[in-house]
């Protein structure tokens, strides 16, 4: 793999808000908040080669989970559709490949809640 410089998208000049996620004890700036579309995600390349998926929900909350779909192994979760559950309004992403749902707050798979192998690692997020 070629070496790439990781650079966040230029910070939105109007709001100036940037999205950062915590990776191994460090805050990594990923993009401007304005670069996120409500209800969708983007993929982020992490310094160690892993990938995260970052989502903005309708309330304005940003969530970050691992980008790898544990059911297929493909790095595609950032391309899934966002939703919220009817009963308790928890935000989730549905895998674009086989449609399993993952809770964005704790990474658990809503279709296999008791299977830790199907849960996603999550990353803390902050806006600055």
């Amino acid at each position: 793999m070629t070496v790439t410089t990781l650079s966040p998208r230029p910070t939105d000049t109007a709001t100036g808000t940037a999205v950062e996620i915590a990776v191994e004890g460090r805050w990594l700036p990923v993009c401007a908040l304005a670069a996120l579309t409500p209800g969708r995600g983007v993929a982020v390349l992490l310094p160690d080669g892993r990938q995260a998926a970052v989502f903005l929900d309708r309330r304005g909350d940003v969530h970050a989970v691992d980008n790898r779909d544990p059911f297929t192994g493909a790095f595609v979760l950032s391309r899934g559709l966002l939703g919220s559950t009817g009963n308790d309004g928890r935000p989730f992403v549905a895998s674009p490949l086989l449609k399993q749902r993952f809770d964005l707050t704790d990474g658990s798979c809503l279709d296999a809640p008791d299977d830790p192998a199907r849960a996603l690692p999550t990353y803390p997020v902050r806006l600055r």
Partner: protein, 871 residues
């Protein structure tokens, strides 16, 4: 409570021989009666795996695993202290000492013994019947052996044309073997159907590509030098060359063990039992297929076996006045083969003075016969080719039906709407035969036990969990009962909307709502308002907005504004997602006609971007393996050369296939290529509840396969015939003729109306074929609406289509000229220009394919993305 010799006492031992379907059911019945808490239970089993669902054995060939077939819940034996000894059959019984000796030499003492040894397949004494390549069809191991042998075989012969034989034949056909069925009787399924039904069945089976030999027997099986099957000689002097033979010529009760122990055996086999399933020794019971019931019958079906299991369990538990078994219904429905065959009750009309009512249509392969008594009581019947009414007729057997018998056999279109629905069944009618569940029990499950869905009723009553043939009726009953209780049945699209797709379409169209959020907040279920929606309703609403865009004043581009957040990933990137996260690209090739220059461009693009290329089944070319960030550059080249999006990623018009037609073909009567191109250009970009496919053939030879399309056009000397509702795919359906000999203009007008009516009224992900069968009145209704304009909406439908045609723009060309939309096409938001390292390829046949080892996850479950069920 009175004591009998066989009543289980604390500390006593019950030994069960045979762990098949009935043996396992017997154990469950013991558990239900608390017997396992006070008595020791030992099960001796010949097979190497715990009881499994033999009734659905054949589904093993279509991928149901042995685990999925298992009938023994995990931990069942341990939980109830039952000892199960697999692979160690009982070899002898010493009734004086009350012991059973197994093959391994183990001696087990019993106080009560239950024989559930089932049947063995009968193999006629034909010379060569033990050669390599001869099989029976009873256990999972049998199927494993057949499937291994089929790999190197081309032809297979099934001996026996009964229910099981046809099921085995269907399985061999499914393994791609040239399949023959040899039946000694003069017709197929001789036990269940009569002469008329047999010939209708034969025609249908032959149309499926099976060769049927009736009235002949297998005479000899000849082998080659290595001892493997080579051919079968038949009793009429003919011979069939074959690599494989499956015997399915009936079963015989496994009564050997009982016979050697001196128990009474019936003249034609079977362990004789009384109406409480006791054999001639009161300490020994026999249940299931090995038993000869007190009515003199050996039942080869699972439902009577289950009844015997309950009867014997009552006796063993010492229940006074417990169940008795005096005979059972032998109604059957063929599960496999895709042929509808059912027989129930007195199918052969053996009762005194009974009368037949018969409807037969040899062309359509339909034969229906009802047997009625002089007083109008329904006694039984045979249904071939159309067994839809089986679920209702079977429970009505024994009563006078609410409609005249002739109305019950006429096809739906010809009969005056018969007042025959689940509502007409009496409460005592047995709706589920496999588990002996009455209509009253189903209603009670809903009303008293609070079951709110078919699934809940299934787990509470077991109804519908056997052969499955009653599930449809069950659904109607549950809905009717819920509605009667004032519970409205939830037909809502998903957890966010209580409306159906059709209702949402009307809301969006009439209120001109152009935003998903506005629709959710104003019309969603209360708990869902203000939320994020879900992956079911978002694309559905996205599609409705796209279909209606110009007429409601929404932006026509699927990636415009909020609409971008509604699209499934395919629409979101205007390309098809592949299993490794890469995308494929299908440019539109209207009518399948392409110039050499354009072909060269596709070749150059594929070469320059290193894409795998393949000719699709839709007369165009697919390029696979592009990463997200390559898509704009690839499309820039394609758009420049005059290509447009082929919408292979959208629920939208796909292709209009064509044959060469009158321009070149010596048979062609119209210019099918021109018409296909015109239609494809007219409807391109049209989004619909599901994908839309079409084709135009230049004459009745139908080389474009128009009858397999959502709308298909076939040229006639006088114009065009329009067919609708065709489908290939998983459930193929031939299209129905909507109108004949249309001029060009009439054809287009009718298709406009048909498509818009479908888009307006279909459910999410419902192809035209399914829609046409679902909507009330079917094809006739659609014809009334779109040809005769009985609803007076045709002007509106045409106007909507005209707006679509006038406003069509190529999605990809628009995307390329819009930096905001283009910004989306990066692999990583924090590293634009860096391709996704997980998308890698390896070489194969001079091209490349996804390197799935990079993903190193668990294996991909096979399930279609588009067909996934709504929740």
């Amino acid at each position: 409570m009175s004591h009998t010799a066989s009543q289980a006492q604390p500390g006593e031992t019950i030994v069960v021989v045979g762990h098949g379907m009935v043996g396992q059911r017997f154990l469950e019945e013991l558990v239900d009666r608390g017997v396992t808490e006070r008595a020791a239970v030992v099960v001796l089993a010949e097979e190497v795996r715990p009881a499994y669902d033999r009734v659905h054995l054949t589904s093993w060939f279509s991928g149901t695993s042995a685990e999925e077939l298992s009938l023994t819940p995990d931990g069942f034996m341990a939980r109830h202290g039952i000892e199960l000894c697999l692979g160690d059959p009982a070899e002898s019984i010493d009734r004086a000492a009350r012991t059973v000796t197994t093959r391994s030499g183990r001696v087990v003492g019993y106080d009560t013994l239950v024989l559930a040894t089932g049947s063995y397949p009968f193999v006629p004494p034909v010379p060569g019947a033990d050669a390599d390549g001869c099989f029976v069809y009873r256990t999972i191991e049998d199927l494993e052996a057949i499937s291994a042998a089929a790999r190197s075989a081309r032809t297979g012969v099934v001996v026996g044309g009964g229910l099981l034989g046809l099921e085995a034949a269907g399985a061999l056909r499914g393994l791609d073997l040239d399949t023959h069925v040899v039946e000694f009787n003069s017709r197929l399924m001789a036990i269940q159907v009569d002469e008329g039904g047999g010939s209708a069945l034969r025609r249908t089976v032959e149309e499926m590509g099976l060769t049927v030999h009736t009235g002949v027997g297998a005479q000899e099986i000849t082998v080659d030098g290595s001892g493997a099957v080579e051919a079968m000689a038949l009793s009429d002097g003919s011979s069939v060359a074959t690599d494989l033979v499956v015997f399915s010529a009936g079963v015989r009760p496994r009564d050997q063990l009982a016979r050697e122990a001196g128990l009474t055996i019936g003249q034609r086999g079977g362990i004789a039992v009384d109406d409480r399933c006791r054999t001639s020794d009161p300490r020994v019971f026999a249940i299931g297929e090995c038993a000869l019931a007190s009515d003199g019958m050996v039942y080869g079906l699972v439902a009577p076996g289950y009844e015997m299991a309950a009867t014997a369990a009552d006796a063993v538990a010492g229940r006074d006045g417990g169940a008795t078994f005096t005979g059972a219904d032998t109604s059957t429905k063929l599960k496999l083969l895709g042929v509808d065959v059912a027989s129930f009750g007195d199918a052969h009309g053996r009762a005194d003075g009974c009368l037949d009512v018969v409807y037969a249509d040899s062309r359509a392969g339909v034969y229906k016969k009802l047997v009625v008594g002089r007083d109008g009581t329904l006694l039984g019947g045979v249904l071939v080719g159309d067994a839809d009414s089986y679920g209702l007729l079977r429970p009505l057997t024994g009563s006078v039906p609410p409609a005249a018998p002739e109305q019950l056999v006429l096809p739906a279109g010809l009969a005056p709407a018969a007042a025959l629905g689940p509502a007409s069944l009496p409460d005592a009618a047995v709706v589920c035969n496999c588990h002996n569940v009455t209509k009253g029990a189903v209603r009670a499950a809903v009303t008293e036990q609070g079951c709110g869905s078919v699934a809940a009723v299934k787990s509470c009553t077991k109804a519908g969990t056997g052969c499955g043939s009653c599930v449809k009726v069950l659904g109607h009953l549950v809905d009717a009962e819920l509605e009667a209780n004032g519970v409205s049945v939830d037909r809502g699209l998903c957890g966010c909307f209580a409306h159906t797709r059709q209702e949402l379409f009307e809301i969006v169209a009439s209120l001109r709502i152009t935003s998903y959020q506005a629709l959710l907040d104003g019309h969603g279920r209360p708990a869902a308002r203000g939320g994020d929606g879900c992956e079911v309703c978002k694309p559905t609403v996205g599609s409705i907005l796209a279909s209606l865009a110009p007429s409601i004043g929404a932006d026509g581009h699927v990636l415009a504004g909020e609409q971008a957040a509604l699209q499934d990933t395919n629409d979101h990137f205007l390309a098809n997602l592949q299993r490794n996260g890469s995308y494929s690209i299908v440019p539109r090739v209207p009518g399948g006609e392409i110039s050499p220059e354009k072909l060269i461009v596709i070749g150059e693009v594929a070469r320059d971007f290193n894409l795998y290329t393949k000719i699709t089944g839709g007369q165009r070319i697919d390029m696979f393996g592009a990463s997200v960030d390559q898509l704009p550059a690839i499309w820039a080249r394609l758009v420049e050369a005059g290509f447009e999006s082929g919408h292979a990623y959208g629920k939208a018009l796909r292709t209009v296939k064509s044959c060469v037609g009158s321009t070149w073909c010596r048979y062609g009567v119209q210019d099918s290529v021109r018409m296909a191109i015109d239609l494809e250009l007219r409807y391109r970009g049209l989004r619909a509840p599901h994908k839309l496919k079409s084709a135009v053939s230049g004459c009745a030879r139908e080389c474009a396969e128009a009858m397999g399309k959502d709308f298909g056009v076939i040229a006639t000397a006088g114009g065009w015939n329009l067919y609708v509702g065709g489908n290939g795919g998983a459930t193929p359906r031939h299209a129905d003729l909507l109108a004949q000999d249309l001029s060009d203009a009439e054809l287009v007008r009718l298709i406009d109306r048909f498509l818009m009516f479908y888009i307006r009224t279909a459910d999410r992900l419902e192809r035209t074929s399914v829609w046409l069968e679902r909507i009330g009145g079917g094809l006739d209704h659609v014809r009334d609406v779109v040809v005769d304009d009985t609803l007076g909406i045709c002007d509106e439908l045409e106007a909507q289509m005209a707006t679509h045609v006038a406003n069509y723009r190529d999605e990809w060309a628009q995307t390329l000229s819009d930096p905001e939309k283009l910004a989306r096409f990066v692999s990583f938001v924090n590293a634009p220009g860096t391709p996704d390292p997980s998308v890698r390829f390896v070489q194969e046949r001079e091209q490349h394919k996804p390197d799935l080892t990079v993903l190193a996850g668990p294996t991909l479950p096979v399930r279609t993305l588009e067909g996934s069920t709504p929740r």
